[in-house]
Symmetry: C2
Subunit: 450 residues, 2 copies
């Protein structure tokens, strides 16, 4: 029996014990948005590492603590894992079929808030390390973990940490917090995340709401000011009108487009899932849709608030109005620059009265699909999943990968336990136990072959 067979066997035979640990981890309601049980979850994380012989450090930050763990291996190559111990709020609670903070297994799936995002990802990686350590005294390479507690609230303090501790985090490659299979069970390799620049636009035109019969003709209206300001940002053909916005946009490469050509068309799935009648800009599906989805930068209104919003009519002229907007950024756009361009644009358009508040963001980040480390991960996946892993050169979401790429200068890959109905961030978040086992086997192979 080869080492890897024994590792696989260990994973298959010790699942219950490992899930018990995941279960316990999930019972800690470490919700960063509510600032609850974060230090408890950091302590639990530290203990899990110590059980595996890792040297750990817990760093305080201006927000939640960062847990760093390291275990030396046979070679001087270092693999870094990025995970987080915080979770999303569980609300709406009434939609959960079981207690979100009391993990429950039903029909081969485990349900709990954080069971996938991201506690299960972390424990599945520790599970792989357990299996390796069962076969060898020393790990094949140095393993480092950085586990933060603010991922679900934009990792506000992470960049300062990564920058300051670049030496400590020094590695040759990084495995990102998530990974998994698509709806047709194809394992996917996500190699880039868009950046984000999240702002709130606020207008205030009076010290109180005014009866619309009095002010309608003669008082400025905060809601109208906001509408007109927003209208200058994007036209109804989806062109973002902020001068300079597109200047740093790199188009996808030929290779990027080819990778998307190998992926299944998501058009029908999207239309069914979200009840979308048609896509923007006449997109029908296929590679054009997939490329537009991730390689076009966006200006999305996430929320609008002003005046009376209850049932029926109230004749009020609102004193305040605000909009939340996220700009998803593609290489090489930078949130700081977009923020400046936005402010300048609004001023030029006569909207100096529109206040812009930066609520967070980060640059886009990509890993070269042809980096040898990517090949290691893909090969390992092909063996475990018995299906060719496909490359997704970029996804539409955002995350703090760019700071690792920028400050540590390393390739970042994904490997994990997610599937199409994981319901991260939603009620009844769950993982399939089969994915959990495969995820651990995949990680064990990545470590062995690194």
């Amino acid at each position: 029996m080869t080492v890897i067979k024994k590792v696989d066997k260990y994973i298959e035979e010790n699942l219950d014990q490992n899930l018990k640990e995941l279960s316990e981890f999930c019972s800690i309601a470490s919700i960063s948005a509510k600032n609850t049980f974060l230090s408890e979850a950091a302590d639990y994380t530290k203990t899990m590492f110590e059980k595996r012989g890792f040297v750990t450090q817990v760093f305080t930050t201006e927000g939640a603590p960062v847990v760093f763990a390291e275990r030396k291996g046979k070679t001087d190559k270092t693999l870094l894992f990025y995970n987080h111990y915080d979770v999303q709020p569980a609300e709406p609670l009434d939609l959960w079929k079981s207690d979100p903070f009391h993990a429950e297994i039903r029909d081969g799936k485990m349900y709990a808030r954080g069971v996938s995002d991201d506690k299960g990802h972390l424990t599945s990686r520790l599970f792989a390390i357990d299996a390796l350590l069962d076969q060898m005294e020393e790990l094949p390479c140095n393993i480092k973990f950085i586990v933060e507690g603010e991922e679900e609230t934009s990792s506000m303090n992470l960049e300062a940490f990564v920058k300051t501790h670049a030496d400590l985090l020094k590695a040759d490659g990084c495995v990102w917090e998530f990974g998994g299979v698509d709806f047709d069970e194809t394992p996917l390799q996500y190699l880039g995340l868009r950046g984000i620049c999240y702002v709130e636009l606020e207008v205030e035109t009076a010290n109180q709401d005014v009866h619309s019969g009095i002010g309608g003709s003669i008082f400025p209206n905060a809601a109208w000011r906001l509408i007109w300001a927003l209208n200058t940002l994007k036209d109804s053909d989806e062109n973002i009108l902020i001068p300079g916005f597109y200047d740093d946009v790199l188009p996808p490469t030929e290779a990027d487009i080819q990778f998307f050509q190998e992926l299944p068309d998501k058009a029908a799935q999207y239309q069914a899932q979200y009840g979308i009648k048609s896509f923007l800009s006449g997109l029908q599906g296929g590679v054009e849709l997939a490329v537009a989805e991730v390689f076009h930068p966006t200006c999305t209104i996430c929320g609008l608030t002003s005046g009376y919003q209850g049932p029926g009519s109230k004749t009020v002229l609102p004193a305040k109005a605000s909009a939340k907007i996220d700009f998803r950024l593609v290489p090489d756009q930078k949130p700081e620059k977009i923020l400046t361009l936005l402010r300048e644009h609004l001023d030029r358009q006569g909207f100096s009265d529109v206040k812009v508040t930066y609520l967070g963001g980060g640059a886009p980040g990509r890993t070269d699909p042809f980096d040898p480390f990517v090949q290691v991960v893909v090969n390992a996946a092909n063996e475990v999943y018995e299906k060719q892993m496909k490359i997704v050169p970029m996804v539409g979401g955002s995350g703090p990968n760019s700071m690792f790429i920028e400050h540590l200068n390393i390739p970042i890959v994904t490997a994990g336990i997610g599937y199409s109905e994981t319901l991260s961030h939603a009620p009844n978040e769950n993982i399939r136990l089969t994915d959990y086992v495969k995820g651990a086997k995949h990680i064990a192979r990545i470590i062995l072959n690194f």
Copy 2:
């Protein structure tokens, strides 16, 4: 002692007793928006009339009952009073210094929800009738009252009632529900109300909100659709862009402008009260501001709702967005026509996906400032207030006066107990007892001289 002196004396000496009745009336929380205690308030209204020898009828409608009361007089001239027994909600309750439904007198003022709008107006009129009946067996003219219970929710069922019962309501003049003095104690005669067309615009682009990382570049965004649709309604120079919108607008007459020239400039008061930095369209104050305030039709956004509106950031692409809009209309605009023009305009602009729901409205209505009835009311006021009553040919607000003008073809005047700090619709609604006494004396004179 003349009759009128005796009437005045009666009013001065019987105030406490009358206020007791008002107090009891105010204790009935007849809130039309919440559909509470409306029939109780209608019954109480009926009883108040019966005490004064009125013949009463309570009509059921599709909404709240309408109370009609009539008492024959010496002549065959008929004076109609319009009032309402419903009140606005009392919220926010914590801002009230005393229980809104337990009237309290402090420093010469009585505080309660509805004490001015409109229960106090009704009882002050009954008080005048008490004083007259104390001096005479028969009233000088026929008196009719129509007291509805849905004024605070747009009088949805009143027009059908007025149309059907035009014969019953037949009169030679009407005293509207309110009246009173300006901030400098000048009694004002309001002779017109703008019309209103209140609509909700709704857009739905998906069956659920979507993660903005997924949909931002390729899914339609309800909030953006709404912004672009709204932007076609009015430009930032305050021009309403709906073709045909201004077609039926009558400009103010020379006389209208002269009446406004005699009124005090409200610019400084508005700026101080609402913290307004500058008025729209470069208006500085004076007659231009006053005329624009009431003779310009409006398109006011009263509310905006879409997506995430909580603290911080949530990266969501909203499936729904809506706006509440009121159009204030001037003679001879009609809400039905505006509604049609709006729908046609949105369709032409490519916004057939924007649903328009009519939430209520009514036409504008004016009384000729030179109608002899107006002079009777003005002369009576001059005597009571010892200050020249001034004509306000039109106010910015709206109300169901147009249906009385259209179906009964009568002049409508105002006379009442309000003052600049009455706080109708707001916490700590109140009346000054001196205004209450003057209001009753004024009404007595109007009835005597009609």
